[in-house]
Amino acid sequence: MTSTDTSHPDYFHKVVDCQWACPAHTDVPEYIRLIAQGRFTDAYLVNRHSNVFPGILGRVCDRPCEPACRRGRVEEKPVAICRLKRVAADHKDEYRDRLPAIPTQKNGKKIACIGAGCASLTVANDLMPLGYEVTIFEQFATAGGLMRTNIPSFRLPAAVLDEEIGTIVDMGVDLRLGQRIDSLRALLDEGGFDAVFVGSGAPKGKELNIPGRNEAAANVHIGIAWLESIAFEHVQSVGKNVLIIGVGNTAMDCCRSALRLGAQSVKVMARKPRQFFKASEWELEDAEAESVEIVINRSPKSFVLDNGRLTGMLFEVMEYELDARGRIVAERVAGEEFYPADDVILAIGQENAFPWIERNLGIEFDKWDVPKVDPVTFESTRPGVFFGGDAAFGPKNIIWSVEHGHQAAISIHLRCLGKPVSERPPRGMNLQSRKMGMHEWSYANDYSMTERKLVPHVSLKERFKKINIEVELGFTAEQAAAEVQRCLNCDVQTVFDAKLCIECDACIDICPVDCLTMTAAGPEEELRTRLKAPATNVTQALYVSDALKFTQRVMVKDEDVCVHCGLCAERCPTAAWDMQKSWVKWPHAADHVV
């Protein structure tokens, strides 16, 4: 294994597990430190730079950062990153005057965005400061897309949506509410736009075609459409017994909404055992805390009607055989079971649908009838037409849509400049020492043994009184103060200079997690077997230094469970180890050098 090239921007970026896992590459440790200092507005702006909607995401993000968090490998639970984001959003002061100024002199380029969801709003957010004129077409009377129609207000209050969407719209976006695009050809031919961004989401819920479906239609609802009707107050009640089919996050929103509309018994029916559930663990917990019963191994067979009215559903009782790796290798039906129901909500998935895109516009569709979209540039096969969010690659989540929006904005900018969209602005990495003096480091490197704090919730008695009572209260000041200290500051990197090392062993002796070894160089796989502690997590890099001057050995660091305490640098007599803050430069449209 040759020595590690830490000058590649990705090396230290990967060490910051949360930031690497985040599709938008939010500088998580940086904003957590700012929260620790009480600089909530600064923390909010660090967030907003990459994820645009900190208040929204601080409540409903799918949090890919948390399973990645190094703290979860050092002890049991990751840092409550998502809920700390909300702390920044809840306590920020006025920040709009610190956003880039919108030029009054426009650049003459007009951009159309279809659908006022998170992807289109991000495109507008990135392009408005560059002088573009952005028009967003939205079929409904409110902006926000699925953030407003599919996420219930008891999880995401309208006020939070209004504020963060308003910040973007107030940049001067021409927001055309209630204007559905029924023909892309018409828009392309008559709109006079230089580029079109399709951010129309994945608005079509999947059907369950089993016997009785049509006859029971009045009491069988498609999950996302049903949630939408609740959001617009078209639906205000539901039957006593409700069955939810499917066990994804939409199902969790459906079951909890049903309780708030007056259902007395809500059961979520899952085809497979719990380890196969698609819903996030915390959403399952929240639903179960509200007495929703999740029934496993029940496969829908038919809707049962009496006198033309739905009375329940018949399910096949499934049995599964798992292999050693936990995969299903065989299944069989062990019997049938009837569950009474007044209403059934289908939450078994959603897909994108483009009946309004003519198929002869030069936009190629693949065999699943979805447009071919370049995964880097987000351009379709017709230059100047871009896709992003769920419209691009099917349902993901908000944070992915935001990143799609950023990347599409870069492409739109390049396209309008007449440059190839494949010419992406380069990524970068800056490092700066955190050493302030003898034994002084400008970050809190004491390891806090505190366990993850739980976010307080509104009591079970209170929360059902109205449909829009936000259940999560957010961290208290004391909880936030303790939780921020759990962050390991992975962005304060251990940077090694082999030329300075005198091979005294001090760093190796002091490292609390045994991640350092000086040893003979060798191939990575073999090297992993002879380190001070076994380096079995191959998803985490080994840092290998250049040859050391006295013995020609190499310094090896297993990044896996390094707690970034800085003791290696503190104990190093020659400053061969230093703790340096890394800034990942993940470019946006504004970073393009013209």
Binding site: M449, I502, C504, D505, A506, P512, D514, A533, L567
Partner: protein
């Protein structure tokens, strides 16, 4: 010196020894020595060694005198017994404790000042009496705690930090110990734990006086160009001549060695020290041959390292020689410890 405490958190897959303890359970207080001090590496070596042979922390006695080295007993096995004695007087305390309780492991930590200047007499007599202990000299050639004056182990020609050249001949603890008849004499280097850890394990198990002289660079006062005890000079000039493996009694010696290359020395509990010579013309079990060999190489400016001399000395071990009871004094009944006034009268009568 470090102000950030070492976090209590440890590697999730840290191995456990026979007692179910991890290496971290053998740590002590936070070191206040200079960053990069060789002594801290020796401390880490002792931790590793004690963990490796599953020493019960409460069965370890840590003794020291005065000096940077002598501070280090606080930095390992906080569950052990510790005694920080007067300057150079650690051997007396060790001997007294050992006389009272032979069931414990005794580890004395000293420095070149503590052992070769003020405590030289004590050091010699501990060897002479063959006290069953491991005696580690953390040897850096300077008085670090008083800002870097030459110690009695400084080599002729070695330069002080400000340029002064030492002209007095050094006392070599290895030659001295061999000369006085020690049965276990080793030299090692703080920067070579692969060599040091088995030596510490063997020294703890060795029945009798075991000396390890560990070259331990003083990063603050003796790590410059011209010093003969710097990291750079030691790396260039130390030469392992004998590799010692400590083999616990449960483990078979499995590796194959060419004839004459490997020899094993049995320790009293059935464990063994396996010696592998790296130099063909050298017999580490022969007292005279090893003395001559080491002396010749010192004359050539080479630091030989490894278990330079090892031979059984069970017959002359302190307890054997003095026919002490097998049980520790604190376990003997009062009647055995105190023969009573009648016996005392009889005894006194002999001198009247």
């Amino acid at each position: 010196m470090t102000f950030i405490p070492k976090p209590k958190i440890s590697h999730p897959s840290l191995p456990r020894n026979e007692l179910g303890l991890t290496r971290r359970d053998y740590e002590g207080a936070l070191s206040t020595l200079c960053a990069g001090c060789g002594h801290d590496s020796i401390t880490a070596g002792i931790i590793e060694a004690c963990w490796g042979i599953s020493v019960r922390p409460e069965n370890l006695v840590k003794l020291s005198g005065i000096g940077c080295s002598s501070k280090t007993t606080a930095y390992f096995v906080s569950g052990g017994h510790g005694f920080n004695s007067v300057h150079g007087r650690m051997p007396s305390i060790a001997m007294g404790a050992n006389a009272a309780n032979r069931d414990l492991y005794y580890i004395g930590i000293s420095g070149d000042g503590d052992s070769l200047s003020i405590g030289l007499g004590q050091f010699c007599h501990a060897i002479r009496r063959n006290v069953n202990m491991l005696y580690i000299i953390e040897n850096n050639g300077v008085y670090g705690l008083t800002k870097g004056q030459f110690s009695a182990s400084a080599d002729i020609g070695s330069k002080a930090k400000k340029g002064e050249v030492n002209q007095q001949p050094p006392i070599d603890p290895v030659l001295l110990a061999m000369n006085l008849g020690a049965g276990f004499v080793a030299r090692s280097f703080s920067g070579d734990k692969a060599q040091l850890v088995p030596l510490i394990q063997a020294g703890l198990k060795y029945p009798g006086f075991a000396l390890i002289d560990v070259l331990s660079p003083c990063v603050t006062f003796n790590d410059h160009e011209g010093s003969t005890k710097s990291y750079a000079f030691t790396r260039e000039n130390y030469e392992p001549v004998v590799e010692a493996d400590f083999v616990p009694k449960q483990r078979e010696i499995t590796a194959d060695y060419a004839e004459g290359e490997a020899m094993s020395v049995m320790l009293h509990d059935g464990s063994r020290v396996l010696l592998r010579k790296l130099a063909a013309d050298y017999d580490p079990t022969d007292a005279h041959a090893s003395y001559d060999y080491v002396q010749q190489h010192i004359a050539q400016g080479e630091y030989l390292t490894g278990l330079l001399h090892c031979r059984p000395t069970v017959a002359t071990e302190f307890h054997a020689l003095n026919r002490t009871p097998e049980q520790p004094l604190n376990q003997l009944p009062f009647s055995a410890l105190n023969p009573g006034s009648r016996q005392l009268e009889k005894l006194m009568a002999r001198y009247r």
